[in-house]
């Protein structure tokens, strides 16, 4: 109840409106500005029409009532009036359609792109590929948000940007025309960052495109906007927009890290290292269905604990993780050492007694 009173109090104070997010964001790209402009134009046109129509209606409701002694007139048709209120709206609509068409044609034109990012939706995470730079990674809901979902109010307040934070952010350069190629690996998702004015379906088997040229350095957040199953509400998007110089630095750092990961896949890892790395990867990628304690959600999502597969020969386990089976998606987009670590963890945590999986095992099974 206290919340209710506070919220109604706030409605009286226009300055607080912005903080509470009453209106669409203007965003940081030319497209998002155009979209905002269209939105406000249609909104104000609607307000004016509403004032005229509802004004007439409420005037009539007040004046033409029996209790005030109103006597009913008997007029019931007028071709002139019908023509007027057919033609005037058509003119207003044309006035709105012209600018809307311009914006639409502009935002569908992705030809001026300077760089390309490929975005792949997975149940329930995003994969980002920089095809030219050779960078690829998965972006998951951050662990503190994940833990706070079933936690206390305080957990949610303490979590960094509850439900709108990820473990690895998409990094983009400022003032660069970027083309996004958007697709999906399983069901339909939708990649939406409202500050960019970009929202596009990710269709399995097809590639959609969109573009943005971001004017301002900063961190921008979004969410999946197409129902994609159980954890649709838990696959946020976070984009760090940095200066061109910082972006270059970031790219070379990522490339070095990628090279190191490839090299480490040729090494033989200790069980302890695999277990430690595996736990993080398990919690980010597997726990949504198989649960952090390995109990799963039978019958659809089987338990890890005591599972025949994770306690049996490694080959079968590797095959399922790489290629998926039924509701289980493929995880081949993860690196060899990551997969080896997570499988080792699955085979030895929760009281399981499976063998250790080395990156080389995964590599040869691909």
């Amino acid at each position: 109840m206290k919340k209710l009173v506070v919220a109604f109090g706030l409605l009286l104070n226009f300055n607080v409106f912005a903080e509470y997010g009453l209106n669409m964001t203007e965003g940081v790209t030319s497209l998002s500005h155009d979209i905002y402009g269209l939105h406000m134009m249609v909104f104000w046109v609607s307000v004016v029409i509403a004032i005229v129509v509802f004004g007439a209606m409420f005037y009539s409701l007040y004046m033409h009532r029996q209790s005030k002694g109103a006597v009913a007139a008997n007029f019931h048709e007028s071709t002139k009036a019908e023509l007027v209120w057919t033609i005037v709206p058509i003119i207003i609509l044309i006035g709105m359609a012209v600018p809307a068409s311009k914006v639409l044609i502009d935002l569908e034109d992705t030809t001026k792109a300077e760089m390309t990012i490929k975005i792949t939706g997975h149940q329930w995470k995003w994969q980002y590929d920089y095809p030219k730079e050779g960078i690829s990674f998965i972006s998951n809901l951050s662990q503190d948000s994940r833990d706070a979902v079933n936690g206390t109010d305080a957990d949610r307040e303490n979590a960094d940007n509850y439900l709108l934070n990820v473990d690895k952010r998409l990094v983009l350069p400022v003032d660069t025309s970027i083309r996004f190629l958007i697709t999906s690996n399983d069901v339909i998702h939708n990649w939406w960052v409202s500050d960019f004015g970009v929202k596009q379906d990710a269709n399995p088997g097809f590639i959609n495109d969109a573009w943005a040229k971001i004017d301002k350095i900063g961190t921008y957040r979004g969410q999946c906007a197409e129902l994609c199953g159980k954890d649709h509400g838990f696959m946020p998007i976070v984009v760090d927009v940095v200066s061109k110089a910082d972006y270059k630095k970031w790219v070379s750092k990522q490339q070095a890290a990628a090279a190191a990961a490839v090299a480490s896949a040729n090494e033989t890892w200790s069980k302890a290292d695999l277990m430690a790395k595996g736990k993080t990867i398990y919690n980010a990628n597997c726990a949504a269905c198989h649960k952090a304690n390995g109990s799963g959600m039978p019958p659809v999502f089987p338990a890890m604990k005591g599972s025949v597969i994770v306690n049996g020969p490694a080959a079968k386990h590797i095959n399922i993780v790489l290629h998926g089976k039924g509701a289980m998606p493929t995880f081949k987009m993860l690196g060899d050492s990551d997969l080896a670590a997570v499988m080792t963890y699955e085979r030895n945590a929760f009281g399981n007694t499976g063998s250790v999986v080395q990156p080389s095992d995964v590599k040869s099974a691909r």
């Binding site: 669409m24 409701l61 069901v187």
Partner: protein, 539 residues
């Protein structure tokens, strides 16, 4: 057989019989009034069931965090809420109204195809039962939204989806038969002296709606059949790995889905076009333009479907076309609103419950119309699409539009159905309770959507907490208002004061020339031209 027939030796003996007694009356009945009542009670039951799901949804969204349920169950609730409300509550309620009213309004004794009428009703409880039974199946109920987009509804769906497909097929049969029956009744059973342009608007809107049903429901049947074969028989209509296309599912679905939207609103336009003239004590303004506007909306409804799909990756030419076509719908819809306001203008209005519901329909439906116009602007739709702004929009047109008109119609014709008057004072209390709470429920959802809250999520980030809290409180209050509605209706049936044949001073229409409680068989002899003209809306 009543004893009255034994003593009267007149020619109409054979027709003057009443209903059978007991349960079998309802199972075997071919009477349009009985079947109309069955439809209405079924729809009301489903409204309460779907409403209970909505209460579950709003309870989960009351506060951030997962409080009550797993995300998968939340998705089952949103899916079933949509399906039950659309196919179980709103559509059957309108068919029920059509059954009750159309024969009386066109001066017919009954529906044209009474046995089919019985069948088309009795399919419904089984279809609804199958749909609801999926909750108790392994893997749970369908959880892919009422729009059931592939491949979430094919490759990635629970086993119970096949039961859902069967239920949708049954619901489709029922609707198509209902539509055929209404067309046959209006065109063949209409009083010989009644021209098409004498017909009341509720009859007109239902006639046009029937053609929408016959055109749209088979397309839905096609969509679910393709799903069925994709799931079970190795086809790949919607699977890109087999050469299919998941976006094709959306085209097929919305080719059904958009006319469906108007199936749920055109009869509402008809209802309001009866109530406003009655309580303004003034003829309906622009009768013929209302008919033409209804027909235009119906036509346009078939050529705008892809405005639900602006983000699927359509070519820009397609987006431009669907945007223009969509904006055009505002024109005939505007004509209707202007006509209703002109009907009120310089009338002599009173504000009994049906009128209150009708006026608030005009006001709130128009707000839903404005947000619809905004959504129709394709570039702006990028920001609105699949957010709570859309949720607010379609609840304004379906709850304060379609459902509002059904409640208005119930109060308006209840005296004719029961021969008794409802409690006006309680009905007014109920109206204000519902109209305030429904706005507390849905209006803040506009803000949530614009601020970026996606729809169909069980949990949200903290900046959405306050408006969700307000919305949920409104939801609980709105839900509770139906307890009062139930009481008012039952109280009217049991203890209502006797009503006169024409309980509303300004009411026009053949139904008001019948006995206070419309006799079991109305118009065994067709009404005369003089009577039809006197009761016509097109005067």
């Amino acid at each position: 057989m009543t004893t009255a027939t034994d003593t009267s030796a007149t020619a109409h003996d054979d027709h003057h019989h009443g209903p059978e007694k007991g349960l079998m009356r309802w199972i075997k009945t071919t009477n349009h009034k009985d079947i109309g009542s069955l439809y209405m009670w079924f729809a009301f039951t489903m409204l309460l069931v779907g409403g209970a799901f909505a209460m579950g949804i709003r309870a989960e969204l009351l506060q951030p965090g997962l409080q009550l349920m797993e995300p998968q169950f939340f998705n089952q609730l949103t899916t079933m809420h949509g399906l039950i409300m659309v196919f179980g509550a709103i559509m059957p309620a309108f068919v029920g109204l059509g059954n009750w009213l159309i024969p009386m309004m066109v001066g017919a004794p009954d529906m044209a195809l009474p046995r089919m009428n019985n069948w088309s009703f009795w399919i419904l409880p089984f279809a609804g039962g199958i749909l609801l039974s999926t909750f108790f199946m392994e893997g749970g109920a369908p959880a892919f939204g009422w729009t059931f987009y592939a491949p979430l509804s094919t490759t990635f769906a629970p086993d119970s989806t096949d039961f859902f497909i069967f239920a949708v097929h049954l619901l489709g049969f029922s609707s198509i038969m209902g539509a055929i029956n209404i067309i046959a009744t209006v065109l063949n059973m209409r009083a010989p002296e009644m021209k098409l342009m004498d017909m009341p608007l509720f009859v007109w809107t239902w006639l046009i709606t029937s053609f929408l049903l016959i055109g749209a429901m088979p397309v839905l049947a096609g969509a679910v059949t393709m799903m069925l074969t994709d799931r079970n028989f190795g086809t790949a209509f919607f699977d890109a790995t087999g050469g299919g296309d998941p976006v094709m599912f959306q085209h097929i679905f919305w080719f059904f889905g958009h006319p469906e939207v108007y199936i749920m609103i055109l009869p509402a336009f008809g209802v309001v076009s009866h109530i406003i003239p009655t309580f303004a004590r003034k003829p309906l303004f622009g009768y013929s333009s209302m008919v033409y506007a209804t027909a235009s909306i119906a036509f346009l409804s078939y050529i705008v479907w892809a405005h639900h799909m602006f983000l699927t990756g359509m070519p820009v030419a397609g987006e431009l076309y669907f945007m223009y076509a969509t904006m055009l719908i505002a024109v005939p819809t505007g004509v209707k609103v202007f006509n209703w306001v002109s009907t009120m203008w310089r009338g002599s209005m009173t504000f009994e419950a049906p009128m209150l519901w009708a006026i608030s329909f005009v006001f709130l439906f128009t707000i839903g119309g404005f947000s619809g116009l905004m959504l129709g602007i394709a570039p702006a739709d990028i920001q609105y699409h699949d957010t709570y702004f859309v949720v607010a929009h379609f609840h304004y047109v379906l709850v304060t539009g379609a459902l509002w008109s059904i409640i208005a119609a119930t109060f308006y014709w209840l005296p004719k159905w029961t021969g008794k008057m409802y409690n006006e004072k309680l009905a007014k209390v109920h109206f204000w309770w519902a109209v305030i709470s429904v706005n507390v429920l849905f209006f803040p959802q506009h803000f949530l959507g614009l601020a970026g809250m996606p729809r169909r999520i069980p949990d949200y980030s903290l900046q959405f907490a306050d408006f969700n809290f307000i919305s949920s409180i409104g939801g609980f209050a709105f839900g509770a208002s139906f307890i009062l509605l139930t009481y008012i209706v039952i109280d009217c049936i049991r203890n209502g004061k006797p009503a006169s044949a024409r309980p509303w001073e300004g009411a026009k229409g053949l139904e008001w020339t019948l006995e206070p409680k419309a006799q079991y068989h109305s118009f065994n002899t067709p009404p005369s031209r003089k009577l039809i003209e006197a009761e016509s809306q097109n005067s």
